[in-house]
C-alpha cells in the first residue's frame, strides 16, 4: 500500500486496548499506598485550623512549606500574576480545593481517613460569576489584587465609532456560555515512586505534557530535573484537562519523596467534576456593523471569561481571553475591530484549555452575528456568509493573523448542497403549518492549528511552547525507532507517524516503532495539545526522515556506483532510477553499523538523525450544518442531520481523521445542548455526578456525515493541517443557529448555551406568540 500516506491503516495502538492489556494509571497501583485529598467544602474563607487524629498520616500546607506555589506568568502589563499553593495555605478559594492529603494502605482506608480530618474554615463572601466579581465592592479572591481582573486585554483598530455611526445596520446581542468540564472518561491520577538507591522519583501520570510537567515539578520541589522521571502510561482521554499542572501531582511526588516509598492518587469522578479544570464560562456583548449590502464592516466585542480561582500552568489563565481576542474575527473579512477581553478570577474551580479553548464560543458569537444580520437583511444565512468569508490567500486578519490557503466559501457551498437547503426550507414550512419546529444552522470557521513558538510568544508567555524534536534511528536490522517529545493519548500518532516515516524511508509502517511519553527516553518536547502533534511532531519526523534518507542514499550510491540523486528508496529497496540495480534498505542498515569501513570518507557510522520543527502555524477550515427539530412543549432538541465539510489539507490516515471529527462534533453537541457545570450563589458546585452533568450518549448523537476538501498549503512541510479541535469548535454554532432558526416564528432569541430543555421551554413560555 504505497504510499502509506492516505491509507486508512488500522492503528498499531489498538490490540492491547482491545484485550484488556492497556495500562492506565489506576492499573499501576499494586505496590503503592493511596492518597486521598481533603478538599474545601467552602468556596471562600480563612483556614482557622486543620486537625487530624494522630493515627492518620496527613500533610498540610505547613508540611509543604518548602514547596513553591504555582505561579504562571505572562509578560504583559495587562496581566496580574496570581499564585496557587499546592495545598491551600491560609485561605481557600473554591469548593474542592485540596487542603490536606492523607496516606493509607488502601483507597478505602484513605477515604475513611480523609473524612476524619477536621478543617475549620471561617467563611467569607464568595464571588461566583464574572459579572458579580466585577461589581464595585465585590469581595476579592486574591487579597493582593485591587479587584478580580487578572487579564484585561484590549485591541482597537482606527475608526471603530465612525464605522458604526455610518453603518446601514447594527446588530447587537449578548451571549452566555455556561461552564463545561472536559470530562475524560479516565479521571486524573498519578503514581509517584521514590527509588532510594538512585535518589530518583518516577511520576507515572495521566498527563499530556511529560517534559513540561517534569520541569515545573523540579522547580516547585526545588530538586534537580535529573532526579525526576515522568512517564505517561495509557491515558483515558484528556482533551486539555491533563495538559496543565495538577497541584495534586506535585503533592503526590512530594509525599513519595517524603515517605521514601510509592504512593498513588486516583481521582474519582466527583473530584474530577468538582476540582479538575473547567472551561468555557464566558459572557459576551457583541456589536456588528454592516453596510447596506450586508457586508460586515466592523465588530465591537466585550468578552468576559471566568477563569476560576487560580491560573493554570504553563499557559496561564490568559489562554481563553487572549485567544478570544486574537481569533474572534474567525473566517470573516473585516478590518475594523475593537475588543476588550478580560479574565476574571472567582471562587470557582480553575479554568484550563479544553478542546477548542475559546473558539467554540467565539465561533458561536460570530455565527450568531451572521444569522441575526441575515434575518435583518431578509436573506439566507448562507448568502450573507458567502459575501463576507475570506477568499484570497494569504489573508491577514484585523489582528494580524495570517491565514494560509483554505476553502471557506467552497466548504460552505458544499455543506449547503449536502444538506439540501432548498428542500429543507420546503419541509420546514410544511412542518410549521403542522405546529412542528424544524431549523437548519450553519457554522463556518477557521481552526488555527499546528502553531509553533512564534504564536505562543505573541501572547507573551513566560513558558513559550511551540517546537517539537524527533530523534530517529534505523537499527542494524532496518527497523526504525522514532522518539518524540509529543505525548499522544488516543490520537493515533504511533500509526500516522509510522505511515509518514514509512513512505520516506521505504519501510513498512509496522517496522517503525514510535516511542513517547517517557522523559528518560525522549527528547524535550511540549506534548500533545492544540491540534499540533501530527503537524509539528510529524513535520520533525519528516525532516529527520529526510536526513536519514539522504544518508541511506549516500551509502547506496557508493554501493551501487550511482549518483546519490539517482537513488530511489521505496518498498524496502534502494534502486538506481531507471535500472534494475538495487540493494535492500536492511542491507544498507547493516552496512552502516557493521561495515563502517565501507562508508565514504567523513561519514559517521550508524543511522540516526534528529530534527526540530517549529512552524508559524496553519489554518484548517470547515463548515458544519445541523438540521434539528425542537419540541416547544418539552424544550427538547433532536438533531436530525449533521454535515461536516472539513479541509485539513493532506490526510495522512483518513480513518483517524474522521474519528477526530466524530468525537469533536459530539463534544460540540454536548456543549450546545447538554453539559453544564453549575454553582449556587454561595459557590457550591451542584453538578458532581454524571446524573447532573450530562455527556451525550449515542441516543443524542446523530450520524455525522463527513466530507473532505484537501487544500494543500505550504504552511506545513507535510501538507497536513491539524484538526483535533475543529469538530468541537464548529458544532455548537451549527446547533444553536438551527435551534434559533426553528424557534424564529416564536420571536425568541437563544442567547445562552447549553440550550437545555428547561432554557428552551422558558423561552417558549415567555414568547408572546404561543405555539400552534
Amino acid at each position: 500500500m504505497i504510499p502509506w500516506i492516505g491509507q486508512p491503516l488500522p492503528r498499531f495502538e489498538d490490540p492491547p486496548l482491545l484485550t484488556g492489556e492497556g495500562r492506565f494509571v489506576a492499573d499501576l497501583t499494586r505496590d503503592a499506598s493511596f492518597l486521598r485529598f481533603v478538599r474545601s467544602p467552602v468556596a471562600h474563607g480563612r483556614i482557622v485550623s486543620i486537625e487530624a487524629p494522630g493515627r492518620i498520616t496527613a500533610f498540610t500546607a505547613d508540611d509543604l512549606r518548602q514547596v513553591r506555589p504555582i505561579r504562571p506568568l505572562l509578560h504583559r502589563p495587562d496581566f496580574h500574576p496570581i499564585e496557587q499553593p499546592v495545598l491551600a495555605s491560609g485561605k481557600v478559594r473554591f469548593v474542592g480545593e485540596p487542603v490536606a492529603v492523607v496516606v493509607a494502605r488502601t483507597p478505602e482506608e484513605a477515604e475513611d481517613a480523609a473524612e476524619q480530618v477536621f478543617v475549620e474554615i471561617e467563611p467569607q463572601d464568595p464571588v461566583v460569576s464574572a459579572p458579580d466579581a466585577l461589581r464595585p465592592g465585590a469581595p476579592t479572591v486574591h487579597d493582593h489584587l485591587e479587584d478580580n481582573v487578572v487579564v484585561d486585554a484590549r485591541f482597537e483598530t482606527e475608526g471603530v465609532d465612525e464605522v458604526f455611526a455610518g453603518a446601514a445596520v447594527v446588530v447587537e446581542f449578548d451571549l452566555r456560555s455556561q461552564r463545561q468540564n472536559a470530562l475524560p472518561l479516565e479521571a486524573r491520577g498519578s503514581v509517584a515512586s521514590y527509588d532510594p538507591r538512585s535518589g530518583r522519583t518516577t511520576l507515572t501520570a495521566s498527563v499530556q505534557s511529560p517534559h513540561v510537567i517534569r520541569t515545573i515539578l523540579a522547580d516547585l520541589l526545588g530538586i534537580p530535573e535529573s532526579d525526576l522521571r515522568v512517564v505517561v502510561p495509557d491515558v483515558g482521554g484528556a482533551f486539555g484537562q491533563k495538559f496543565c499542572l495538577a497541584p495534586e501531582d506535585v503533592v503526590t511526588a512530594w509525599v513519595a519523596r517524603r515517605l521514601r516509598t510509592t504512593v498513588s492518587w486516583v481521582e474519582d469522578r466527583r473530584e474530577n467534576l468538582m476540582s479538575s479544570f473547567h472551561s468555557r464560562d464566558h459572557h459576551y456583548r457583541v456589536r456588528g456593523a454592516f453596510d447596506r449590502d450586508a457586508r460586515l464592516l466592523a465588530v465591537d466585542a466585550d468578552l468576559l471569561c471566568n477563569i476560576g480561582a487560580y491560573s493554570c500552568y504553563p499557559v496561564t489563565c490568559g489562554v481563553e481571553p487572549l485567544m478570544a481576542l486574537a481569533e474572534f474575527p474567525g473566517p470573516y473579512d473585516f478590518r475594523t475591530y475593537r475588543v476588550r477581553s478580560r479574565g476574571i478570577t472567582t471562587n470557582t474551580c480553575p479554568m484550563a484549555p479544553y478542546r477548542g479553548v475559546s473558539r467554540p464560543v467565539i465561533t458561536l458569537a460570530m455565527e450568531r452575528l451572521m444569522d441575526l444580520a441575515a434575518v435583518r437583511f431578509g436573506i439566507e444565512p448562507a448568502e450573507i456568509r458567502r459575501g463576507n468569508l475570506v477568499s484570497e490567500f494569504p489573508y491577514s486578519s484585523a489582528t494580524g493573523l495570517v491565514y494560509d490557503e483554505g476553502s471557506y466559501v467552497e466548504s460552505l457551498d458544499r455543506a449547503v448542497e449536502e444538506i439540501g437547503l432548498e428542500d429543507f426550507r420546503d419541509r420546514q414550512a410544511a412542518a410549521r403549518s403542522e405546529g412542528r419546529y424544524l431549523g437548519v444552522g450553519i457554522s463556518v470557521f477557521s481552526e488555527r492549528t499546528g502553531y509553533g513558538t512564534s504564536a505562543f510568544a505573541a501572547r507573551s508567555m513566560d513558558v513559550t511552547p511551540g517546537y517539537e524534536t524527533v530523534d530517529l534511528a534505523m537499527d542494524p536490522s532496518g527497523n526504525v525507532e522514532v522518539r518524540l517529545g509529543a505525548s499522544p493519548h488516543g490520537q493515533g500518532l504511533e500509526t500516522t507517524l509510522a505511515q509518514l516515516i514509512g513512505d520516506e524511508l521505504g519501510v513498512e509502517p509496522a517496522r517503525v516503532r514510535v516511542v513517547h511519553s517517557d522523559t528518560d527516553r525522549t527528547p524535550y518536547g511540549w506534548g500533545t495539545f492544540a491540534s499540533r502533534s501530527l503537524v509539528i511532531a510529524g513535520g520533525a519526523a519528516r525532516l529527520a526522515s529526510d536526513r536519514l534518507r539522504a544518508k541511506l542514499a549516500a551509502i547506496a550510491s557508493a554501493e551501487l556506483e550511482a549518483a546519490p540523486e539517482d537513488i530511489v528508496i521505496r518498498a524496502g529497496r534502494a534502486t538506481v532510477a531507471g535500472t534494475d540495480a538495487g540493494i535492500d534498505v536492511s542491507e544498507l542498515a547493516r552496512l552502516a553499523y557493521h561495515s563502517s569501513h565501507r562508508l565514504a570518507g567523513g561519514m559517521d557510522p550508524g543511522l540516526t538523525a534528529t530534527a526540530t520543527y517549529d512552524p508559524a502555524g496553519t489554518f484548517s477550515n470547515a463548515c458544519h450544518v445541523a438540521a434539528v427539530e425542537v419540541d416547544p412543549e418539552t424544550g427538547g432538541v433532536r438533531v436530525d442531520r449533521f454535515v461536516v465539510v472539513e479541509d485539513a489539507g493532506r490526510l495522512i490516515n483518513p480513518m483517524i481523521v474522521d474519528g477526530q471529527l466524530h468525537g469533536g462534533v459530539t463534544q460540540g453537541i454536548a456543549g450546545a445542548l447538554y453539559e453544564e457545570i453549575r454553582y449556587d450563589s454561595e459557590g457550591n458546585i451542584l453538578t458532581t455526578s454524571l446524573m447532573d452533568f450530562l455527556p451525550p450518549t449515542l441516543a443524542e448523537v446523530p450520524t455525522i456525515e463527513v466530507h473532505h476538501l484537501e487544500t494543500i498549503s505550504d504552511a506545513t512541510i507535510t501538507g497536513a493541517k491539524g484538526l483535533g479541535e475543529g469538530g468541537t469548535i464548529g458544532a455548537p454554532a451549527a446547533i444553536i443557529n438551527a435551534v434559533a432558526d426553528a424557534l424564529r416564528p416564536l420571536g425568541v432569541e437563544v442567547a445562552e448555551v447549553p440550550a437545555t430543555p428547561s432554557r428552551l421551554r422558558r423561552l417558549v413560555s415567555e414568547s408572546e406568540r404561543i405555539p400552534a
Binding site: G20, G22, A26, L185, E186, G490, Q491, S689, P695
Partner: protein, 160 residues
C-alpha cells in the same frame, strides 16, 4: 475496616476460580481489578452511568461498579480478558479495530462486553435497537459513530 470484617468469596471469572477476602462493601469492579488482578475492567464514574466497568454476569451485561463482590458467588463472570481466543481477536474486537471504534481505549472494554452480551442474545438487531443498547455506555472520544459501525459489522460476521 479491619481484617475481621472481611469475608471470603469465591468468584468464578473467565472460567477460573478466585478465592478472595473482601470487605462486604467492596464492589465487584474493585474485586476484579484489585483482588483478581484483572485491570481490563475500567472505572469511569463508580456510580453506574458510564458503563466502562460493564462485564458479563451469567451472560448478562452488568455494571460491575454497582454490584458487590459478595453478591457474585457462583456466578459465571466474564471480563474483557476473556474475549479473545489466544491471539485470535473476538469478532467484536476485530471489528472495533478495523473500524476505528476506539481512540483512548478507556471505555472500550465496557462497550465490548456490552456488545458481546447483547449480540449473544440478539444476533440480528435492527438499527434502532442497536442504538438504544449502545446508548447504555459513555464514550468521550469517538462520538459513537465507529462503535455503532463496528458492532453492526461484528453482528454480521458472527451470524456467519
Amino acid at each position: 475496616m479491619t481484617e475481621r470484617t472481611r469475608v471470603e468469596v469465591e468468584l468464578t471469572v473467565n472460567g477460573r476460580s478466585h478465592r478472595v477476602r473482601v470487605e462486604p462493601r467492596r464492589t465487584l469492579a474493585d474485586a476484579l481489578r484489585d483482588d483478581c488482578g484483572l485491570t481490563g475492567t475500567h472505572l469511569g464514574c463508580e456510580h453506574g452511568v458510564c458503563g466502562a466497568c460493564t462485564i458479563l454476569a451469567d451472560g448478562e451485561p452488568v455494571r460491575s461498579c454497582l454490584m458487590f463482590a459478595v453478591q457474585c458467588e457462583g456466578m459465571d463472570l466474564r471480563t474483557v480478558e476473556d474475549l479473545a481466543d489466544g491471539d485470535r481477536l473476538h469478532p467484536i474486537q476485530q471489528a472495533f479495530w478495523e473500524n476505528h471504534g476506539l481512540q483512548c481505549g478507556f471505555c472500550t472494554p465496557g462497550f465490548l462486553m456490552l456488545s458481546a452480551g447483547y449480540l449473544a442474545q440478539n444476533p440480528d438487531p435492527d438499527e434502532e435497537e442497536l442504538r438504544a443498547v449502545l446508548s447504555s455506555n459513555l464514550c468521550r472520544c469517538t462520538g459513537y459513530q465507529n462503535i455503532l459501525k463496528a458492532v453492526r459489522q461484528a453482528a454480521e460476521v458472527m451470524r456467519g
